[in-house]
């Protein structure tokens, strides 16, 4: 029997397997350390929880060539400005609610989950809520009694999950915070709800009606 070439030998491949695995794992550890610092709450990519005190928009960025979240003027959720600690407690309650109610086995969050119901990444910005003024209350009302609402033309309805008012408000806070995460342009080509301020009473008038500001 001829002698095995070095490149076909067991010991060469055993060593290769060990070095490749160890090298990949070490690289992953360094990347993980860096990623953790980039996505901790309060970083540029993942804003602090108190971002829910502000308007959040999703605007096309020329340089990156996709939409990015933009933190705007102060616009406290439910009209109440929260401290960082209060905001974190509220968002955390909302996140716990999404886990306890098993949202992820119908919906996707950041695109991960099940595909029976819409993605929630930009739920806060979805145009379906109509106007930004009505949005908060509509979301709370929907979460508490989804079974009675009109959803779509195909008969799929969210069941009543026994969500209390405080859980619903917390969930809305969580969704608002999640919409501020920089997801590298996912979802793409999204048309957010019009959040522009109504024109002041003395705004210039064109053809008898106030000039409409264009939403994103």
């Amino acid at each position: 029997m001829s002698q095995t070439e070095w490149w076909a030998s067991e010991s060469f491949w055993r060593k290769t397997a060990i070095w490749v695995t160890a090298g990949s794992f070490v690289a992953l550890m360094f990347l993980t350390l860096d990623s953790m610092s980039e996505i901790s709450a309060g970083s540029k990519r993942v804003p602090a929880y108190s971002v829910i005190n502000h308007r959040i928009d999703y605007v096309f960025d020329e340089k990156r060539n996709f939409q990015v979240p933009v933190i705007g003027a102060e616009e406290p959720l439910f009209g109440k400005k929260l401290t960082e600690a209060e905001a974190e407690a509220l968002v955390s309650h909302g996140k716990l609610t999404t886990q306890a109610k098993n949202c992820m086995n119908c919906h996707t969050l950041l695109g991960n989950g099940a595909y029976y119901a819409p993605d929630l990444t930009k739920a806060w910005l979805d145009p379906s809520w109509g106007s930004k003024e009505a949005r908060e209350q509509m979301m709370v009302g929907f979460l508490m009694n989804p079974q009675d609402s009109l959803h779509n033309g195909i008969g799929r309805r969210m069941p009543n999950l026994g969500i209390t008012e405080s859980e619903a408000r917390a969930t809305v806070a969580f969704l608002k915070w999640m919409s501020s995460i920089d997801t590298n342009g996912f979802p793409y080509n999204f048309k957010p709800i019009d959040q522009s301020d109504p024109p002041p009473a003395d705004a210039p008038v064109e053809n008898g009606s106030p000039v409409q500001q264009q939403g994103g």
């Binding site: 690289a27 955390s92 996140k95 306890a100 969930t171």
Partner: protein
């Protein structure tokens, strides 16, 4: 010596007696997975079906959790099956292993009962600890997580202890190191954080580094053993291949994790790292196809167990197409932007889990049945062979049909919901209502029933195969050279 063809546990060694218990539970959970998959599939077509009783979220959760647990039970059983053969001595700590089997099984039953009857809880930590964690694939409540850790530690003690005391083969060495990684990774999913980006970062450590790294290496070990058993391939050959596969699998799969980090808030450098390494992930799967087909050819497909070898070959191709090709099709960020979180993912998920894992566990079911019946003949001219052949045809065609149907729906969704409608909720429902999408869901359901029929036939076959055989199994002449 026991009568050939009669099911007699005296034919099995200690580890194998435990293995068949794990296999039995695995098969039952496989059935549960199919049942709840069918229910969830019907809800896509008839949304009022079981609405408010067993909602889609519940059915889907049981569907994917039964999948994870039946495969884990199948893997654990397969390792116990080969352990004494490989190490050459009885399993160390087998009594404890037996006890843990019962605890593990009872815990799984308790979790499922709570999933079905309690379903959800209030939005606080008690729900996560007692009812369900609400994180896809690892929904098991925290108490069960801790129980799982205790169970797998015992299993690991059995495996590592037996190899340490007996013969440390190459397969054994890879297996032990892989199990450390596999179970260590589970810990990465056992914490709570309000930060969903951090949550999903570590969640993918568990999911991806399981199914696209450590599980793949585990099935590599099982396949090595399976090829030695069925074809009589020389150990040196399968072990060299195993090392090559480990190098390629971990070399591509560990950093291939990056393809899950495109859209969860993580930095843009993951586009490059995830795209590049995940594009390499199919390579080890090609190697496995080459390996199994080449070995089969070398041995002129003369093998001791036709159904087991057939499922091993199905595994090699299923792994390559389901995990490799279907994964690669949408792994690059430029396309994943449109396909992420659509029926594309479902198509890939079904094909990969079945092709890479279900197939190989089924192969081990057949290895077990053969020996359980006294090492009975399972080669050509096997009595009642139509059953395993038709079970295989129905299961594979059923799966391919489901996969193709979901792919059509996925294409439609990527185009209409994502590219045209801009991913809004209205866009989502416009796409879900589209006839192309709906047709895909109907075909998926029809092929789901075919798959279920294949499962029924598989169970029937496993209960009866070899029963009327009186010939002893084919014996390989020790190959002098290959």
């Amino acid at each position: 010596m026991a009568t050939l063809g009669r099911l007699d546990s005296a034919n099995l060694n200690g580890g194998q007696k435990l293995a068949v218990k794990y296999f039995t539970v695995a098969l039952a959970l496989f059935g549960a997975q199919i049942l709840f998959g069918l229910l969830a599939g019907i809800q896509y077509l008839k949304p009022d079906f079981l609405y408010g009783v067993l909602d889609f979220s519940v059915n889907r959760m049981v569907h994917i959790n039964a999948l994870v647990v039946w495969l884990l039970f199948g893997f654990i059983g397969s390792v116990y099956w080969m352990l004494e053969d490989e190490a050459g001595i009885p399993v160390v700590g087998l009594k404890l292993g037996n006890l843990i089997f019962w605890i593990f099984t009872l815990a799984v039953a308790a979790v499922v009962v709570v999933y079905l009857l309690v379903q959800i809880g209030p939005g606080d930590h008690s729900s996560i600890w007692l009812i369900n964690e609400g994180r896809e694939y690892i929904e098991a409540p925290r108490w069960a997580d801790i129980g799982i850790v205790v169970c797998v530690l015992t299993f690991f003690y059995n495996v590592a202890g037996t190899f340490a005391k007996g013969r440390y083969t190459g397969v054994g060495g890879v297996l032990v190191l892989d199990l450390i990684a596999l179970f260590g990774l589970y810990l990465a999913g056992m914490f709570y954080t309000p930060n969903i980006s951090v949550d999903q970062y570590w969640w993918w450590w568990v999911i991806h580094l399981w199914v696209e790294a450590t599980w793949e290496v585990l099935v590599g070990c099982l396949m090595a053993y399976g090829l030695m058993k069925t074809l009589g391939v020389r150990r040196k050959i399968v072990e060299t291949w195993l090392y090559i596969e480990v190098a390629l699998m971990f070399g591509s799969g560990i950093l291939g994790l990056g393809h899950h980090y495109f859209w969860i808030g993580t930095p843009e450098y993951w586009f490059t790292i995830g795209g590049f390494f995940s594009a390499l992930e199919p390579i080890p799967l090609v190697a496995m196809v080459v390996h199994s087909v080449f070995d089969s050819g070398t041995h002129k497909i003369k093998n001791t167990n036709h159904p087991a070898l057939a499922w091993i070959i199905a595994h090699a191709f299923g792994n390559f197409f389901g995990a490799g090709v279907w994964g690669f099709m949408h792994t690059l960020p430029q396309i994943n932007l449109y396909t992420h979180g659509t029926q594309w993912s479902a198509s890939h998920g079904h094909f990969a889990f079945f092709g890479a894992y279900a197939t190989l566990v089924i192969a081990f079911f057949y290895l077990a049945l053969q020996k359980w019946r006294g090492d009975v003949w399972m080669s050509g001219g096997l009595a009642g062979a139509w059953r395993w052949k038709w079970a295989m045809v129905l299961l594979n065609l059923g799966m391919i049909g489901m996969v193709m149907a979901m792919l059509v729906s996925g294409y439609e969704q990527s185009q209409i919901e994502r590219a045209i409608e801009g991913s809004s909720w209205v866009g989502y429902f416009v796409a879900q209502a589209h006839p192309w999408f709906v047709q895909g869901m109907w075909w998926r359901q029809i092929f789901g029933w075919m798959f279920a029929a294949g499962f029924v036939l598989l169970v029937w076959d496993l209960l009866t195969i070899g029963r009327s055989e009186r010939r002893p199994a084919l014996v390989h002449a020790e190959p002098a050279a290959a």
